[in-house]
């Protein structure tokens, strides 16, 4: 990757579902779907054989799960988010999508937390290997936000873009139908405008909805999306509805107050590998893995072979794993990142810097999940701000260095090219 690739954010339009090229850059006029007719859309998806997954209230949060109908949506609910804190709270209206993304992300459906990738069966004196050939589920995602479309595009690069294509991801990704919903509100942890990933959905969707009190403005993003709404009672949106939609989207944009300066971030972070600030963060960081688990782009996994009691049948299991797990960095039995500071540094520098070298984009979409779901509320935008200040002020760095004793290993290249690892 060259210097010019160190451009922050996701500059190119998000990768689309495959057949939407006619629609990119040429916004089609929005049509209107009455609020009560959303159930017709969901029924149509079910008739087409899709399993609908989308937002629902569960475990005191708005999570993603299978939906049977409109009544499963979090109608009348919203959330309050801040670093280390999330609360589910009622709304004073009956919006169905009036919330900011919560603890779940769509990666759990495209890249499941646990999967059996192969099995081996002892046959006589040899082994018969087989891969899983079960048909992948055919999902329709309902309620995908702009930052989440970008996250899916980033994982597309990870799992489909290189020399080795992940067949599990590919099958699920090919089948998925993406119904996006534009944000009409933002949380204090959101910073999509800094990462150029939102709040408005630009591309990569089959349909994009904007919710207003009376229903939904509908934007068609692909041929599949067009076919889907053909049988629905859509009508051209009237100017009042269009204005209401614009107001909602503008509300979201205005509410994004958190910012992260991405200018020169790649080089800045890699020049700060020896900063004493990593030790300061490590005093708070629990190394609990929560940030990586809720991140919609983190893709690390570990593969283990698990035998049955007889030892005649072995399953190769893949599970989500994390650079914050000490065992994840073991090489020949020795952890190569043996301190919290080195693990936090690995995560942040990969997410915001070396990810660009590896995949050509930033690994961060500005959704803010890692901020909300970090129990002590470590805010990566604040850490980046501090590192930037330290880079600009060597005196400040020296002052911190006197109080923090470094436990960082001497290596200066926190990159890892092992397959499946960040």
């Amino acid at each position: 990757m060259t210097e010019s690739a160190a451009v922050p954010g996701i500059v190119a339009p998000a990768m689309n579902s495959g057949d939407s090229s006619d629609f990119i850059g040429n916004r089609r006029p929005e049509s209107f779907l009455l609020r009560d007719d959303l159930q017709l859309l969901m029924r149509r998806l079910q008739e087409d054989g899709y399993t609908i997954v989308g937002p629902k209230v569960d475990q005191d949060a708005i999570v993603y799960g299978e939906l049977t109908g409109v009544s499963d949506l979090p109608q009348g609910w919203t959330d309050q988010q801040q670093p280390g804190k999330y609360r589910l709270v009622p709304r004073d209206d009956q919006r169905m999508f009036g919330y900011v993304p919560g603890p779940h992300s769509w990666k759990q459906f495209l890249f499941p937390p646990s999967a059996i990738v192969a099995t081996a069966q002892r046959v006589g004196s040899s082994w018969q290997m087989s891969t899983q050939d079960e048909p992948a589920p055919r999902y329709a995602f309902l309620g995908v936000r702009s930052c989440e479309l970008s996250a899916i595009a980033i994982q597309d690069k990870v799992f489909l873009g290189g020399a080795f294509v992940d067949p599990h991801y590919e099958q699920r990704r090919d089948a998925v139908l993406l119904i996006a919903v534009n944000c009409t509100q933002a949380a204090p942890v959101c910073f999509c405008t800094s990462m150029k990933t939102g709040p408005r959905c630009q591309s990569g969707f089959d349909l994009a909805l904007t919710e207003i009190d009376t229903g939904f403005l509908v934007e068609i993003g692909s041929e599949r999306g067009r076919l889907l709404v053909e049988a629905l009672p859509l009508r051209p949106a009237v100017s009042e509805e269009i204005r209401a939609g614009e107001r909602g989207r503008a509300d979201a944009e205005r509410q994004v107050t958190k910012q992260m300066n991405t200018e020169g971030l790649h080089d800045l972070l890699l020049e700060q590998l020896k900063s004493p600030h990593w030790e300061t963060v490590a005093e708070r960081c629990l190394s609990c893995t929560n940030c990586t688990m809720v991140c919609p782009t983190c893709f690390c996994s570990s593969v283990t072979e698990v035998s049955d009691l007889s030892g005649d049948r072995v399953q190769r299991e893949r599970q989500w794993d994390s650079c914050f797990n000490v065992d994840f960095s073991r090489v020949n039995g020795i952890p190569s990142r043996d301190s919290i500071s080195s693990r936090y540094r690995q995560w942040l520098t990969h997410k915001l810097a070396t990810w660009q070298d590896q995949f050509g984009t930033s690994g961060c979409v500005g959704c803010g999940r890692c901020i909300t779901w970090c129990p002590p509320g470590i805010d990566l935008t604040e850490e980046v701000r501090t590192l930037r200040q330290l880079a600009e002020s060597p005196q400040l760095t020296a002052a911190i260095g006197e109080t923090a004793s470094s436990s960082l290993p001497p290596n200066t290249a926190p990159q890892n090219t092992t397959e499946g690892r960040g």
Binding site: P103, A282, T289, N290, T304, G311, V326
Partner: protein, 275 residues
């Protein structure tokens, strides 16, 4: 198996200060028990059979903590008699709930409980097996997870290293899709500093983790304690969260001692205010 041993490994189960729950986890493996019995020779397991065969043994499962001078000697003999020593449960790996005595007055306990305390020979502390002898593998938990128990036995029979994760409970919560109750409801949960292996049970039943698997590898217990204090938990209410089944595990002990000092400072202030 190509490396099949010429004879089955001989397994022995030893009990020290404990409730027997962990060794009974082996008998709880009802579906797998016959297979296990086919893989190893259960040579000594007093809870299961009165037919006890003498050592040496290949695999020792050691339950319980060291609380008497006699046990401190006995565990050394177990080490001499067994090739691989696996400690099972919070008592064996951290001292157990009985390690609360480490903060109490041992002599006073004896006087309160026994009519003739001079006949009692016990130590003033309850300590983990690993503080007395080298241990090959530790299975955490109160009680242990029986899948982990099976895993370690199968691994030893197969001659491979057992898979015993050292990461936090949080990772398992996230794999299950469990929403973090600490963040979503403010429930003090020890998940971020507690070792996985239980299957992340408590948070999926709306209850904070109370650390029965003990500290995770390189757990940052100080930061989590600070976080609980900063978000309004009183030292007095946090103290029993860290001082229970794994009270004597060093990472937990350090923070519970700190909380105790804070609680005393708070009650000292209250007392002086009352006066």
């Amino acid at each position: 198996m190509t490396h099949a041993p010429t004879r089955k490994p001989r397994l022995a189960v030893f009990k020290f200060a404990s409730c027997d729950g962990c060794q009974l986890s082996l008998l709880d493996c009802e579906d797998e028990l016959l297979t296990v019995a086919g893989l190893v020779e259960i040579a000594m397991f007093p809870e299961a059979s009165s037919r006890m065969q003498p050592g040496p043994w290949d695999i020792a499962l050691v339950e319980g903590s060291i609380t008497t001078p006699h046990d401190a000697e006995r565990i050394r003999q177990v080490r001499r008699d067994c090739t691989t020593v696996v400690t099972i449960g919070a008592c064996a790996t951290a001292g157990g709930i009985q390690s609360l005595r480490n903060w109490g007055q041992h002599e006073e306990f004896l006087r309160c409980v026994y009519a003739r305390p001079e006949y009692i020979s016990s130590l003033s502390t309850s300590t983990a097996i690993a503080e007395h002898i080298p241990v090959d593998y530790e299975l955490r938990g109160c009680p242990v997870n029986r899948q982990q128990l099976l895993e370690v036995i199968l691994a030893l029979v197969a001659g491979r290293k057992p898979r015993l994760p050292a990461h936090s409970v949080c990772l398992d919560c996230k794999r299950k899709g469990t929403v973090c109750i600490e963040v979503s409801r403010g429930v003090p949960c020890l998940g971020p500093i507690t070792q996985a292996g239980c299957g992340a049970i408590c948070p999926s039943f709306d209850r904070g983790c109370y650390g029965c698997f003990g500290p995770a590898l390189q757990a940052n217990c100080g930061s989590l304690t600070n976080h609980f204090l900063d978000t309004g938990s009183a030292p007095k209410t946090l103290l029993p969260l860290l001082r229970n089944y794994n009270a004597a595990a060093p990472a937990f002990r350090e923070q519970s001692d700190r909380l105790e000092q804070l609680a005393q400072a708070v009650s000292g202030k209250v007392d002086s205010a009352v006066e």
